[in-house]
């Protein structure tokens, strides 16, 4: 292996390691891997400055497939470990790769705090609503009624919404993508990378072995137009085949409602305009689920100073003199 000259932009494939990929053929993880490699290439990332940190689970095998630095750690703890990497060297570009079980169940506490602290990381949560690597148990994002080896009569638990959780935890950048919709996913990844702070990206990922088609109701080509709301800052919240449908705020219930342009006098004036910096709106968008369209893209982006930036601002530059330290205060000489 030789060091790459610094000015040449790497190709996506130059971010791939020599390891044989061990995800099930057809798994949505392949698409995410491809999107990340393309995003890094587009950004002009350097392999030597990029670190992928993961926990445990199918998604967490990700670092092995990258030609960057990588650390496959302990179940649920990737946000904490990645925080340590950033504390040691804030110049590194650090990505956390996690899943719904890893990031929201066993690692829920770390996810909460890494978002609250706003550590400068990209956190990519592969949500397949199931435990894949341990063979198909229901996860914290599985819908009520999900049948699995540990819920043969249907899960009686109510699912967690990853994006709602991230907003509640104080995340300052919350976005969503779908494994198979590469162009949009790559855009979201690049936006996440550009944000200085904790960037949370939920990717709807199909586990074709244990939860195949669980997102079909909004990812299927046939329904995509009607069930997907692609967010663009400053643009009206329109969707549907001819972009004739939109979201309007019903002031009496303070809830979003679907309206059709031209129906009962509905005009563009009535349609809400996406404002990434509006946390209330982001919360409403995160909560939309079928039959509403599912909100995709950047739900919320309101940057504040990152944890590491604030930390290094406080880091004193005083004298590192050991002798002065040891002789401070009262001493006596014999």
């Amino acid at each position: 292996m030789t060091a790459t000259p610094t000015l040449v932009k790497l190709q996506p494939k130059e971010f791939a390691s020599n390891q044989e990929i061990r995800w099930c053929p057809g798994c949505g993880d392949y698409a995410i891997l491809k999107a990340v490699q393309k995003a890094l290439a587009d950004i002009g990332s350097r392999r030597e400055n990029t670190v992928f940190v993961s926990g445990i689970g199918c998604s967490s095998r990700f670092p092995y497939y990258m030609a960057t630095y990588g650390f496959h750690t302990v179940h649920g703890r990737a946000p904490a470990l990645a925080t340590g990497v950033k504390l040691a060297n804030p110049e590194l570009d650090v990505w956390v790769m996690t899943g719904d079980g890893d990031g929201l169940s066993i690692g829920g506490n770390h996810m909460l705090h890494v978002l609250r602290r706003n550590v400068d990381l990209q956190i990519i949560l592969f949500n397949n609503e199931i435990y894949g690597l341990t063979k198909g148990q229901y996860s914290p994002t599985s819908r009520a009624g999900t049948k699995s080896p540990t819920s043969p009569n249907g899960s009686i638990e109510r699912p967690l919404s990853a994006a709602t959780f991230a907003l509640g935890a104080g995340g300052r950048f919350v976005a969503r993508g779908i494994d198979t919709q590469q162009a949009q996913l790559i855009d979201v990844l690049k936006r996440a990378h550009a944000n200085r702070g904790a960037s949370f990206v939920e990717v709807f990922q199909n586990c074709l072995v244990f939860n195949d088609g669980v997102f079909n109701e909004f990812t299927d080509r046939a329904v995509a137009d009607e069930r997907q709301l692609h967010l663009v800052h400053g643009q009206p919240l329109l969707f549907g085949k001819d972009r004739q449908k939109g979201l309007r705020l019903d002031p009496s219930s303070i809830a979003l409602e679907v309206v059709t342009l031209g129906d009962a006098g509905v005009t563009m004036e009535d349609i809400l305009v996406h404002d990434e910096t509006n946390r209330t709106l982001a919360g409403m968008l995160a909560a939309l689920e079928p039959p509403f369209p599912v909100a995709l893209g950047v739900l919320y982006a309101a940057p504040v100073q990152s944890y590491t930036a604030a930390l290094y601002e406080q880091q004193a530059t005083g004298s590192p003199d050991l002798e002065a330290l040891m002789t401070q205060g009262k001493t006596w000489t014999v």
Partner: protein, 615 residues
Amino acid sequence: MREQAVVRFAGDSGDGMQITGARFAMETALAGSDLATFPDFPAEIRAPVGTTFGVSAFQIHFGSVEVATAGDDLDVLVAMNPAALITNIMDLRRSGTLIVDKGAFTERNLTKAGYATNPLEDGSLSDFIVLPLDIGRLTVAAVEGLGLTSKQTARSRNMWALGLVLWLYDRDRKTTTDWIEKKFATDPAIVAANVAVLNAGHAFGETAELPNFLRPVAIGAAPVAPGTYRTISGTEAVAWGLVAGLKAAGIERMVFAGYPITPASPVLHALVGLRAHGVVTFQAEDEIAAICAAIGASFAGSLGVTSSSGPGVALKTEALGLAIATELPLIVIDAQRAGPSTGLPTKTEQSDLFQAVLGRNGDAPMPVLAASTPSDGFEVAMEAVRLATKYMTPVFLLTDGYLINAAEPWLIPDPAGLPTFPVAFRTDPHGFQPFVRDPATLARPWARPGSPGLEHRIGGLERNADTGDISYDPDNHAQMTEARAAKVAGIAADIPEQAVNQGEDRGELAVVGWGSTFGPIHMAVRRARAEGRRVSHIHLRYIAPFPRNLGDLLKRFDNILVPEMNRGQLVTLLRAEYLLPAERFSQVNGKPFKVSTIFGAIMERTSGNGKGGAA
């Protein structure tokens, strides 16, 4: 002239006994006496006033001779209320001096403490020299006209007691008044009042008609090596040792990640103050995050350090396995406390030894070091940094609640004379494989992210012995398991042979200890040897791996006694390792051993003068 004395200040949690003791210790240290302190406080921050479980105490043993423990029996007990009396009087020696605030011996306080009758009146204290003083009233008199509220006045009662005890031992008050001035700099009235109260206590000794035999006792300076001294707590020693180790290793940054826990929190507090020395501190959301952040920092080329106590260390266990598997430097400081579970958070114990040596899934060896005195933490922390970075391994540094809080005089080392052990980060991509080992140390290279051409992936799945890539190959796993064990075992060749701390390298009895039992074992062995017993003291700093000569050394003794503040953990390891009939000697009452306890055990197990003549 008296050579040594033991004083204990005991009162309510809110009575300021820790401050009083610490000030007395400072004046004593500045007078050149050797000393050891033992702060003993309740788990509750402010337990209900007057209750026995709210009693806070500070003990100090000082002398013009070597002092190695906080002392067995008290010469002077200051009891600020009945609860402090009932919980401490059993440690006062016959004819010892008891100073009580008789104003606090009210009906209500007596009942709360569990006294049916007032001990100041019922004759039950006739073994002691009792000075029943109305310290509360005397304090009020001292601050008259200074405009203090009654609450503020009550709070300075401790200064009166301090003044009197300083008089009793002929100590200066200068640094205490300086300290008061600095501490209350924003409130001149409080400064004036505290100084007045301190002086009033002192003047009382001078002028009051105390019993004739109560005269100031000057305990002089202890004969020590020339140099500049300071008092150092176990916390400071460990924190400074880490910083010294960081410099010795030539590493730019230490990331110290911790989560608040008694009694380890002071270490985190101390390191927050050392930012100028390259220390980044991180208060994590939990114990697991703390160790994981430290591991992440080590991966990124800093020195990762975390600290906790038993229950927190238990939480860190899985991540410790990761550090062992990925072979990254890491230091885990365990300030042990009485367990299991929450146990007795403020009481000391040595019962995490098994946890440190054995407590992980899989075959997961790592070096374990133990500090034996408060100041010893400095050298041990430096050594932990050396081993962690040289061998790419996590290292346990065991200390305990006693060592963390206790203090003793320390000969400040010359920084130029400290060892150095510079770390060589891998920078050359040529032939780089993350798990190819150094043939001498068996350590893998430390390659920091940010280094071009050294990009690599590591993780908890078993790694190929060269490339570090995931490997499910059974033979490779066997090879890696052996390599990890051999690496840690090999450290035995790089640490000093076990010395005999006191006595000959053979004899009738070896008393083997580790950690904070050093002081009591040292004094007990000294006394027994003075009485002609063929007993030696061997104290271990390295528990994993054991020093290479330890087995041979122990085999030269007829009997081996292992005093521990647990049910026999080191003794079990010694028996397993060397098939020796070492004997357990256990104490788990949350307190350090008394010298007399160990002395008695030695006397029972040795045959007296003349038999071997080696004394």
